[in-house]
């Protein structure tokens, strides 16, 4: 006898598939933002579940900061090819050259510069909805984000004036020039993402697992030594076994000391963790409203 029981992960998965299909049905030119990070890896599996045996009804797009872990780019390209998905890459480098994005003096991280790059790409391809992997548990201004989140013609988010979102009915109506962000993983937690990766046996980039790396201590976290991180006189370069918990611009993605070599190890580690994953991102530590400010401007 069938039990008609659905687990937490099955429930979340079904909700996310429903959101993806709504986006495919309601928008003319959606795009799925794919960075190669763990959340977007889950999104690709959900897209397979939503649309197979058809191909994806949208291309993938990566807004490349140019400040990447090299492992990630190889992974990104290979995964897109395996899925026979069209991959668009737009780079911050290019946006800087064209004057679309402008660096402020002393700014080393390029996470903020992804915003104008993304908006220009949306304009270039006339995309009307960008599907992103953001989760509400990541950061507190995200906790109030809608699953279908409206952006005006300038790509801006107005947190005080969001459309109410009830049941699982998503209001997808926009005027030309405006667009939406869709977040199918809104209700997933970091733990759900890892359990899903485990359950679905999803391949993830090697930097999520333990590897030796040269790091320096900055502001309470271990930052990877790279050409993009100018060493300071007092910096003591250490060679440690580390892994990343979240992936961003390499110049601001903190590593954690870890011995995790399997997804199960990672799950055990997170269950015992005392710091959220965003706590390892230097860009979010700048001020309490750092994420909100970036989001208002049109960040993911």
């Amino acid at each position: 006898m069938i039990s008609y029981y659905l687990s937490n992960l099955d429930t979340l998965e079904s909700e996310s598939i429903h959101i993806m299909r709504e986006v495919a049905a309601e928008f003319e030119r959606p795009v799925l933002l794919f960075s190669g990070g763990k959340d977007s890896i889950c999104m690709l599996r959900l897209a397979e579940k939503a649309f197979r045996p058809s191909g994806f009804p949208f291309p993938l797009m990566h807004i490349d900061t140019g400040h990447n872990f090299p492992e990630l780019i190889d992974f990104r390209d290979r995964r897109a090819a395996e899925l026979k998905a069209k991959l668009i890459v737009r780079t911050v480098e290019d946006a800087l050259a064209k004057g679309i994005a402008v660096q402020t003096p002393g700014e080393t991280s390029r996470n903020r510069l992804q915003t104008p790059t993304l908006l220009a790409a949306m304009e270039e391809f006339k995309f009307d909805c960008a599907i992103g992997g953001a989760r509400r548990d990541e950061e507190k201004s995200r906790a109030k984000e809608r699953i279908l989140s409206f952006r005006d013609a300038f790509g801006q988010w107005d947190p005080k004036n969001q459309r109410p979102e009830l049941w699982s009915i998503y209001n997808a109506r926009i005027n030309p020039g405006e667009h939406m962000r869709a977040f199918p993983l809104s209700n997933w937690t970091e733990m759900d993402v890892w359990r899903y990766i485990d359950r679905e046996n999803l391949e993830i980039p090697s930097i999520y697992f333990r590897h030796p790396r040269e790091v320096v201590r900055r502001d309470g976290q271990w930052l990877p030594v790279s050409d993009l991180l100018p060493l300071r006189p007092n910096d003591e370069v250490r060679n440690l076994n580390v892994r990343v918990r979240t992936i961003g611009d390499i110049s601001c993605t903190g590593c954690i000391e870890s011995e995790a070599t399997t997804v199960t190890d990672i799950i055990t580690e997170i269950a015992a963790a005392r710091v959220t994953e965003r706590g390892s991102r230097a860009d979010d530590r700048r001020s309490e409203a750092a994420m909100e400010d970036r989001k208002r401007e049109g960040y993911f």
Binding site: I2, Y4, Y5, L6, S7, N8, L9, D10, L12, E13, S14, E15, I17, H18, R21, E22, A25, E48, K49, A50, F51, R52, P53, S54, G55, R136, D137, E139, K140, S141, R142, A143, K144, P159, K160, R163, P164, E165, L166, W167, S168, I169, Y170, N171, R173, I174, N175, S186, N187, T189, M191, A273, R274, V275, T276, R278, G279, E288, A289, E292
Partner: protein, 438 residues
């Protein structure tokens, strides 16, 4: 106290419970949520640090757990909560999603939003004040949105010396007026969110209370029956037609089952056309299924090549919803510009989009007294009333009390594209034949 259930053996047995929290200003709602998160070890060190940083800035000294949910700059500056915030925590048995709704500004709009996806509502009452007007309002909305379980937390028991009589008074008052409402399952728990009594750990200060602590209740409450597994409903979201030659004959109907169960071989009717076919197979990425049930997302293939498109609904011919162009709804208005009788709006219900006209406002409900106001002519922001809608094409629907997915609609202003109303479909009034006098 309910006997402790054994812990699940693996992740497959972890369930998801969504609940909403409601309380008046100063009822200690944020403290309660903070307490649940903190005591279940769902607040992390960096969040705690950030809280500490913000409390140092305000100079008030005490860590304000409300800062954990009030994420927007304007909220922290003004010390208010603007919008519904979603919070997540987990225990070994269950994962929880809290829709935390603010106690004052835009109250009804936000609570209706938070309540729309909830299995359970936690309503906070200050033990010193007892049941007040706002409590009745919270209970009304929980009832209107058909939240299956309501827990009244009688908070601040520490300030009434953990007195049983104070608790009993709230319990009796609540029971009294809730008979006017549609509350299926009501539980009352005496707590102190500040001191942690009966929140995560059972308190030893109230030996007269035999029930569970709040978290234990949330972990063990039976929720599988909250779904409607009886009335098969499948709103078609997306038609899956692969371009690939290998799947030349594949014509799948993709969607999330909104009610009941569907089996291979079942006869189905497509609404609103009424055409019939049988289920040939149920396709999923993980393999074909013999049977699928709500709320699974699947792709259904039919034996006959009949015309089905997005917005249609598959049902069983012996269990059909209403199909009509005129329907009555309970409307909660969500925008500054009032609802006007005679105006046309867009609507969306499950996968169906269309246009409708407001034909009549039968009455407005005073949600503090539950009284009907038949003289009302418009619905203003945060007002609720019974409205007759006329849709431009026949719509398949259930009463909201039967099915929250096929009985709900959002109303959209066609000029601004804003969501301006939330509608819950009423059971149609049966035409009673007028008896001729003998």
């Amino acid at each position: 106290m309910t006997p402790t259930q054994p812990l699940p053996l693996d992740d497959k047995e972890i369930e998801l419970l969504r609940f909403t929290t409601a309380g008046s200003v100063d009822d200690g709602k944020s403290t309660l949520i903070g307490r649940l998160l903190f005591d279940s070890k769902s607040i992390f060190e960096d969040q705690m640090e950030a809280l500490q940083r913000s409390s140092d800035l305000t100079g008030k000294g005490d860590i304000n757990l409300a800062n954990l949910t009030d994420g927007l700059r304007a909220e922290r500056e003004q010390g208010i909560t603007i919008d519904v915030a979603y919070r997540y925590f987990a225990t070994p048995r269950r994962e929880f999603i809290i829709a935390d709704t603010p106690g004052h500004i835009q109250y009804t709009r936000n609570m209706v939003t938070g309540a729309s996806t909830a299995n359970l509502a936690v309503i906070l009452v200050d033990a010193r004040q007892g049941v007040i007007e706002q409590t009745r309002r919270h209970a009304y909305i929980a009832s209107l949105l058909r939240i299956p379980h309501v827990v009244v937390c009688v908070n601040k028991m520490d300030l009434v010396d953990y007195d049983e009589a104070a608790f009993q008074r709230v319990y009796n008052d609540f029971n009294m007026f809730s008979t006017h409402l549609q509350v299926r399952d009501l539980t009352c728990i005496p707590i102190s969110a500040l001191k942690g009594d009966n929140v995560v750990e059972k308190s030893d200060k109230m030996p007269w209370y035999q029930g569970p602590a709040l978290l234990h209740y949330l972990e063990t409450l039976h929720i599988a029956n909250d779904r409607n597994l009886h009335d098969p409903r499948f709103p078609v979201q997306w038609v899956n037609r692969p371009q690939d030659d290998a799947f030349h004959d594949f014509r799948g109907l993709s969607g999330q089952i909104a009610g009941g169960r569907f089996k291979v071989g079942d006869e189905v009717a497509v609404l609103p056309s009424g055409k019939r076919s049988r289920i040939k197979s149920i396709y999923t990425y993980d393999g074909e299924l013999k049977e699928a049930f709500t709320p699974m997302s699947v792709t259904i293939l039919l034996e006959d090549d009949i015309d089905v498109s997005r917005g249609d609904m598959l049902v069983r011919p012996d269990n059909v919803p209403y199909v009509d162009q005129q329907l009555d709804v309970m409307m909660c208005w969500m925008h500054e510009e009032p609802m006007r009788v005679g105006r046309k709006y867009a609507f969306k219900s499950a996968a169906r989009s269309g246009r409708c006209m407001i034909k009549d406002l039968r009455f407005q409900v005073d949600i503090d007294t539950f009284q009907r106001k038949p003289d009302a002519t418009t619905l203003e922001l945060n007002e609720i009333g019974r409205v007759t809608l006329m849709t431009t094409a026949p719509l398949a629907y259930d009463a909201y009390s039967r099915n929250r997915s096929t009985g709900s609609m959002i109303i959209i202003d066609e000029a601004t594209n804003l969501t301006v109303g939330a509608a819950m479909v009423c059971e149609p009034i049966k035409e009673v034949p007028v008896l001729e006098e003998a």
